[in-house]
Symmetry: C2
Subunit: 346 residues, 2 copies
């Protein structure tokens, strides 16, 4: 059995509570006994049992991270590594630790969250996604449990602290970038329709077209998974249309890579035959050939800010609800070209 507070107390000739106070560096303990107790602590090799402390304290200094149900596949997308990096950074400073859900299906994830929360294993939760009518969000809200979502909540956004980009405007800007180049036949490839990012980016895309008096074609709008394969599928559909688009707004770099692959496979050229504006500016956006024009949403910041406000909320339960908007910037590379009239090929 490990050395406990009692052992220290006995050896140092004080009460356990005194030792506890020394650990907390309470000002009500004389420097003299503090010194002595600390001495004994190192002598005995004492380390506090954090589980016991958590039980007494009703606080764990741990926060839970919830992944979307893309489950294992999510990890393929660098968005998650990057946001995790930001979160990790934020937590380190505050001396909190991190626990992750491992569930794959929606049900498993929900159970994971319930277990974390009811099991009192975490002090707060960060949702790495936002989707329509999410039971997890409802559960957290009903239990008045501290949480923040990365993304824009579907409902009751005014009751939920969230950190997000202005995805509508970002998509609008991205689309405008293409419009300014003369493109009129612009397609949209988005992710899962349940995800708010997808919906917001779609909205911005539509807005831009409407503003430009260009009709919105349902055929030009495709939804797939935020994965390489998703991009491949989507662009196949688009390019076999009677009148295929000459430019694309793609809601994720990984999808864009898929698009590039397929396009090249068809013997077509980017940006000559097809211009692409992508999202997220992952490492491989610049590595792709051609390097992708991509909207950098500052993923790292999303993570850092999420932690910051979650911990604020944990440490002060009446911290007001906040909405944090992280700026984006469009990184222009070589995947977009001016619109050029094409001769009709058989």
């Amino acid at each position: 059995m490990a050395v406990t507070i009692k052992d220290v107390a006995r050896v140092a000739n004080v009460a356990p509570s005194t030792v506890s106070r020394v650990i907390a560096d309470s000002p009500r303990i004389s420097e003299k006994t503090k010194k002595r107790v600390r001495q004994v602590m190192v002598e005995l090799g004492y380390h506090p049992n954090l589980i016991a402390r958590s039980l007494a304290n009703q606080s764990t200094q741990t926060i839970g991270i919830v992944f979307p149900n893309s489950g294992d596949l999510a990890f393929q997308n660098p968005f998650f590594s990057e946001v995790l990096r930001g979160i990790s950074e934020g937590l380190r400073e505050k001396h909190y630790v991190l626990q992750m859900t491992t569930g794959k299906s929606d049900e498993e994830i929900f159970d994971d969250v319930v277990k974390m929360v009811q099991g009192k294993r975490v002090d707060g939760i960060i949702l790495l996604y936002s989707k329509v009518s999410d039971p997890v969000t409802d559960f957290l809200l009903e239990n008045d449990f501290p949480f923040v979502v990365i993304g824009k909540p579907d409902e009751r956004a005014e009751q939920i602290t969230h950190v997000d980009n202005d995805n509508v405007t970002a998509a609008l800007d991205g689309t405008n970038h293409l419009l300014h180049l003369g493109h009129k036949r612009i397609g949209f490839i988005g992710g899962n329709k349940q995800l708010m990012v997808t919906l917001n980016r779609l909205e911005g895309y539509k807005k831009a077209l409407i503003d430009a008096n260009i009709p919105i074609l349902d055929d030009y709008i495709i939804h797939e998974e935020f994965l390489l394969e998703g991009g491949q599928e989507a662009v196949k559909e688009l390019m076999t249309l009677q009148s295929p688009p000459t430019a694309l707004l793609v809601a994720d770099d990984l999808m864009s890579l898929g698009v590039l692959r397929t396009i090249h496979g068809m013997g077509l050229n980017v940006p000559k035959d097809l211009s692409i504006v992508s999202f997220n500016n992952a490492l491989f956006a610049q590595l792709a050939s051609p390097p992708l024009t991509s909207i950098d949403i500052h993923i790292l910041e999303l993570g850092i800010e999420a932690v910051k406000h979650l911990i604020a909320r944990i440490e002060n339960r009446k911290e007001p609800v906040k909405r944090i908007i992280i700026p984006y910037e469009i990184i222009v590379r070589s995947s977009c070209g001016p619109y050029v009239e094409k001769s009709i090929e058989s």
Copy 2:
């Protein structure tokens, strides 16, 4: 305050201990009272407090994951996402949860581990790296704490359960692949020299050359970080040599991408001017242009197996130490070509 075991006991007209037994599904409780108690549990919305259980049990059903000190940068390398995916999968089945270190420097990481272990927050630990004279490993060993390392431990490997690839032979095979193509001037680009993977792959590389009676040139061996930039730096050095290599064994795909970039920037062609055998077979190994011949080390399996044996060890403290070797396979793509005599260019 949440509903506790006592509340359930009171309402169900039994003792708290009985409720506890019902939770554990003890055979010594009659089906009848089990039913009644369970009934009350759902009525009151009871959920066990896992922290309290942990304290009583001396077990947390949590395992800790330790990253190498590349700290935040590590996340850029898909190796970690992938191994995390495997770990996550393994844990889910066993109903364990996962906690990660957030430390950046060696010291911070060491402290994280000490806190996890002494704080009794985790039942076991997985090290996602192996390096020479690692204090973390020593600490774990001295405390006889259950842990497994992914990679080959530097010292006392016979006392440490570890899951690894046969990196020596893998590198040997990779090098032979190049030798068979007629290459004689083969360079090696590896990661941090403290890491065992680097050392093992270097060893295999050397072995292959020795077997082929080709002298080993120090100038042909470069060590950088396992990152894109690392590959760039390394190949710059190599290609400015008097007599640059015609083929490369590169210990990581991300580095290989860096190599490709630089090579292309120099107006050279892969595989015509330089053949590359890479490691890890990450998603972008196949996406690169040209697609990379890469040694797939089955990262997912590494994670799954690590969990499996760690949990076995946790649940049975005298489970023997094991060494698990995960097979590798060389995936041939288009980054290697036959050696061709070159005219001397100025």
